[in-house]
Symmetry: C2
Subunit: 256 residues, 2 copies
């Protein structure tokens, strides 16, 4: 059975998609069988792998509302061991449509059952909110990775996110763990980066990934070529840092 | 009657809050009477002005659901001409609560009527989504300012946002205009910044603010002191660029 990991944080622009795309690619490069689920109506993870979103006949939206089976919407990527369940603007209506549906929080969890045996890891990219899509992702997940931008506003939202994780753990998904807090866009020339790191180490030291993702232009350029960083520029510090992060994750679960 | 301007973009982390806080402060410094409405459950605009969100008896949430009048929840700030309608986590439930309510799109518009005569400008900071809160902001607004981070993923979402603005203009608020597209976090050392600027000039040249907001550490430090940039470091290029932007906005409306 696959380990399901949701990449979530309601604060916008903290590196959820960049982490989902590059972690999934790095795990696939290590020959783990990976499914990347794009659960954001913006569809950034999908375009990060050159998916033509306008041309999609069906997407994760159709699997969530039960019109298609998940296996029918999954697409290949340039990486042999990586597949993607793409999204597009159809997903915008999902939150409102799901409101009055029975078991609205477990739609994704049920959809994933069909394919879970085919993968080692399922990575879910979440939108910047704590609405029904993110709750679906947290309900389906074994664990959550929290990308944390090294900025003041990003720190502010962490408390709220931890509370939401607790609520989900108590009420819907008792098995949900925190896989880790990942510092992103770390810039050693900027004092704020060290302040955020120290603050996290004061309160959540055991949860922080040792790997820190630096601010790296290559990471923000790669999506315009529809590739993860390791296919765009494997020598860049951005690509290397996500490979290190994948190694750290694999090491942690090897012992289990 | 106040001019109501919504700062909106469903892409996360593009500078909506930073623009709302610093534009509102710059207009107030020019002795315009300004109300800043924080419509994001994250409450970043509120903490940008040292509001103790946990201590609030009532917030914009209570004005939207009709429990309080807007005038009852408005707070002063350090700037004489600037008031704020703060938000906190109470707002998280609003989107779900409003779903089955009559006139769910016009709750904010009605709430603002009570105070509109007291202000020259009302600035609304939106959350990173196209849900009911942002629709409320676009329905209440005379115009929208679209902060656009100079990055690939931010460009991707622009088409969807323009479509949503069109839908709101056709169906709910015929008077809604696009005040402008504001380039944010522009970094002259990064090619991507010039590519985004050129792409915008190819398709939306007439809509782009001449003022470009540079990437500036001072802008990201100011919120940790609970102040807008012009009170934290008036000499910084970040603070100066928002003063220029406010001048550009005032110039545009002076002629009307
Ligand atoms: N380490 C990094 N160095 C430089 N740029 C980065 C880095 N990580 C992400 N970025 C860029 O910052 C922007 C925000 O990142 P990203 O889109 O991954 O965040 P997100 O949390 O998924 O945003 P949203 O909340 O909109 O889903 C993107 O343009 C991305 O290319
Ligand atoms: N011009 C700038 N230079 C440097 N940092 C900036 C600039 N503008 C914004 N920032 C920082 O970038 C981060 C994202 O900005 P901000 O929070 O204003 O975006 P947002 O669109 O309001 O995010 P959200 O989608 O979560 O509401 C913040 O930490 C902010 O301090
Ligand atoms: Mg994203
Ligand atoms: Mg914001």
């Amino acid at each position: 059975m696959a380990r399901v990991i949701s990449i979530a944080n309601q604060k916008g622009g903290v590196g959820k998609t960049t982490t989902a795309v590059n972690l999934a690619a790095s795990l696939a490069a290590a020959e783990k069988k990976v499914l990347l689920v794009d659960l954001d109506p913006q569809g950034n993870s999908s375009s990060g792998f050159s998916i033509d979103k306008a041309a999609l006949q069906s997407s994760i939206y159709h699997a969530i509302i039960g019109k298609n089976r998940l296996s029918q919407i999954i697409k290949p990527t340039e990486l042999e061991f990586l597949k993607i369940a793409p999204s597009n603007q159809d997903l915008i209506g999902a939150e409102i449509e799901l409101i009055n549906v029975i078991s609205r929080e477990t739609r994704l969890k049920s959809a994933l059952k069909e394919v879970s045996g085919l993968y080692d890891y399922i990575i879910i990219d979440c939108p910047p909110s704590l609405g029904l899509l993110t709750v679906n992702a947290l309900t389906a997940a074994d664990s959550i990775i929290i990308p944390l931008q090294c900025e003041y506003y990003a720190m502010e939202g962490l408390g709220q996110l931890m509370k939401t994780v607790e609520l989900v753990t108590e009420n819907i998904n008792h098995a949900l763990e925190i896989e880790g807090i990942l510092l992103t866009m770390f810039d050693p020339r900027n004092n704020l980066s060290f302040q955020v790191r120290d603050e996290i180490d004061r309160h959540f030291a055991s949860l922080r990934f040792k790997t820190v993702i630096p601010r790296s232009v290559r990471l923000s350029e790669a999506p315009s070529f529809g590739k993860p960083a390791l296919l765009y520029d494997i020598t860049s510090k951005g690509a290397r840092s996500y490979i290190d992060m994948a190694k750290e994750l694999l090491q942690k679960h090897k012992d289990k």
